[in-house]
Symmetry: C2
Subunit: 343 residues, 2 copies
Amino acid sequence: MKRKITLKQIARELEVSISTVSKALKDSDEISKDTKQKVKAFAKLYNYRPNTIALSLKNRKTKNIGVVIPDIVHHFFTTVFRGIEKYANEHGYNVVVCVSDESYEKEVFNMELLANGSIDGFIMSVSAETQQKNDFSHLKEVMEQGFPLVLFDRVIDEINCDKVVMNDERIAYDATAKMLAEGKKKIALVTTESYFNVSEKRAEGYKRALLDHGAEYDKDLTLVLPFKGIEESYIETFVENQNFDGVLCVNEIFAVLFMAATQKKGLRVPEDVSVIGFTDGLLSRYSTPTLTTVAQHGERMGERAAEMLIEKLENEIGFDEEEVYRTEIIEATLIERGSTINK
Amino acid sequence: MKRKITLKQIARELEVSISTVSKALKDSDEISKDTKQKVKAFAKLYNYRPNTIALSLKNRKTKNIGVVIPDIVHHFFTTVFRGIEKYANEHGYNVVVCVSDESYEKEVFNMELLANGSIDGFIMSVSAETQQKNDFSHLKEVMEQGFPLVLFDRVIDEINCDKVVMNDERIAYDATAKMLAEGKKKIALVTTESYFNVSEKRAEGYKRALLDHGAEYDKDLTLVLPFKGIEESYIETFVENQNFDGVLCVNEIFAVLFMAATQKKGLRVPEDVSVIGFTDGLLSRYSTPTLTTVAQHGERMGERAAEMLIEKLENEIGFDEEEVYRTEIIEATLIERGSTINK
DNA sequence: TATCAACACGAAACCGTTTTCGTAGTTTTC
DNA sequence: GAAAACTACGAAAACGGTTTCGTGTTGATA
């Protein structure tokens, strides 16, 4: 086991002081040309790299950012993560990920762990349980400790920090309006239980579109599915008993299940029923017909979140300068595919 | 910005030495009961937590493990990562992820970065480009530096380290045999270019099953698709021109595309054509019909990889003890769904 | 020749811990 | 009453860097 070489060893070997080696490697003009060359040559030969941990301790910066997400086996979060990792890496940061698994306790635990020196700032999307409990003291805590925090997607209004969100309400409006424009009259909504503020916003956009276009909002046309353990039968029962000619689903799994159920019933997509989902994942791209869906541009969200965080990290805020927080809206776009009638 | 409290501050506040504080918090019996209580109370009040970075420097252990994978927006890698993260977290380790994006250069760069003190060991799956170039000096390098390394899925024979793999050959054999047992005669194979050793092994299993069961191996029934930018037309052309009644696809995207193409041609799945894919992702679960597929148990692979790595990390190898490397095989299983004829 | 700046380098502090070792002060022992 | 043995604590080194501040040696200047 060949230990990595340190300044101390180089210094001893070359019979100079540690400071000299350090300065020589930094091309300080305190050091003579001769010595610099000697040191650099030696360092290169032994492939010297400064120890990250020592630097972290000295600089009180780890160059690590902590990402806390509810789930990783999930297309949206994965793409956001991709964006974060990409941007971070390009800017000299590493990313340490903790998965809260939708659990409040794990979320708190992980954040405390990371806050003990492992990272310089947080990017996160809160867990379902946290949203339900409505307890955000752990977020306040890390902010008070001076950690910059960027929330994305599942954000918390009462926490004052940088945020990256999607215009859920508007895109749901647009999606609904699109189906109305196709001539559809009875548009259903398939959503999750309401403690997810994103689902709620989508529902609002859906309603507003109906009312704006003179369609009536029928409560019976909204199907609320549980967060975990979706039973296909819920959907099939709904499809069996309700009359509709379009549907907006808050994710692609619901969309593809709904589509399958309507087809099974003998209805054609999109001729008889238009279907629009959220999340442009594999399901949307490879279903039959392909799904018209809302692309959330997760990667861009991740990039922006990372950008905002790193900006905060690098621009040490002046003393008594007022901290200013931004909320960035990433515009979702509707991708038209085979499950709607497109011109 | 409230800095986290340090031993030094507690010491000053309580008018004792730093050593005393440190020992008191560790319940050392060098310290009197009184002092211990005083210190502990104060520490609890100010919510003292030892600084991770300082500990890392002191102990030369970061309690971080580095994960380098080719892609994160990919069901299989995501599940493996999930397993790693889960096991690591349960055992007091954090995970820092770097995505190589299938690029040799990024892979090398990221590993060098991580090797400068950020992590204690690596878990990785090599990039496509690395496999093509057949250059593994960066892996040898980190091993020589004393970092334990666990490879999974895309492993390298010439690198001597712990490995976690799937029995690709055998499960491909089983999948093919299953279709033959259904009475299918002409089984096609849809695979990727061959520098992926996993694809190669799957192809071998496929061939062996054909020969073992007295079916003939027809080269024309193998469709090789490029790694990036699959054109649907490649598949459609193949489906149009070849005669087959079963197909084994090396991933679920190929499987679902193939299924769509055969259905479009008017063939029924599974009556006319049986389809089996690899990867038990959303596509397999929600396609119509649902896909019979090979479950790779990525999560278990990740857990095992993490377990192997952490075991190496914690059991400092005795001096001159011979290092022993293991290759663990995670048994894949065939999940029977609607795209094959099951009894 | 005394003075001074420039040059080239080293000592030491610091980041926050842990841990070894030394040592006052007290108690026990004979 | 002196030596031995505890007790309870502190000083200092170490992990691997960076950086400030000296300082000894030159050569130039007055």
